[in-house]
Subunit: 145 residues, 2 copies
Amino acid sequence: MSVLELCDSEVAAVSVEANVADAICLMLERHVGAVGVIDREGRVAGIFTERDVLRKLSLSGRAPEKVPVRELMTTPVELATLATGPAEALATMVERHFRHLPVVDDTGKLLGMLSIRNVLQWRIDNLTQELDSLEHYVANDGPGG
Amino acid sequence: MSVLELCDSEVAAVSVEANVADAICLMLERHVGAVGVIDREGRVAGIFTERDVLRKLSLSGRAPEKVPVRELMTTPVELATLATGPAEALATMVERHFRHLPVVDDTGKLLGMLSIRNVLQWRIDNLTQELDSLEHYVANDGPGG
């Protein structure tokens, strides 16, 4: 299973040339907590998140439409690829306290944005399924059946 | 198991008289995404979250030290009590798209703040444990053992 299947169908991203207000508008419009920041080739330059708004903008007294997003974005950023499994992504996110992990292709082009919530939910579904089938096995066949 | 065991040991809260800058400072200091907003008796009046900062403050052009937190807080807010189980809390949070759920005593006094991440992690630990013991059972004893 690819981590891309756990991402929103359309990835939210702004250009490195965008300002912070553009990025915030997109987050509000898409109901997401993070957007990718991409260059002209669509490659990930960084991510801009709710946490960046809280930490770097909210008490700064700066007008968001006058601040380039590249100034407040989080970069460098850890990336997942199509070869990254959900379990591996989850381990990285939990260990490093990341809420979001961009998924990129071979050239670094942004394909999707993974959120910790979706990955945790995947893990729960996954474990529940395993448990169900093992319970079914015990109830119906037994190890020798 | 009480949901309180899944909360941070010390709950982050500001007074209803506080301003938005006070609330943001506390969020940054404690590394949390939400603080409780409480009255003089410690009862929950609302919660103030990263999402409130993004939605209601970041593009408003208002100075956070001049905005009362009660103006931007989320209220009324769903509450958990000591009688709420983690599974019930999780169901509420997933269904209603809440990231945080305050835990209160009988009088409405704030005891802790539950985050969806901690509850999802609890569910994973819980399922993993169930799965491990069932696998152990199948390997060693079998249903008839």
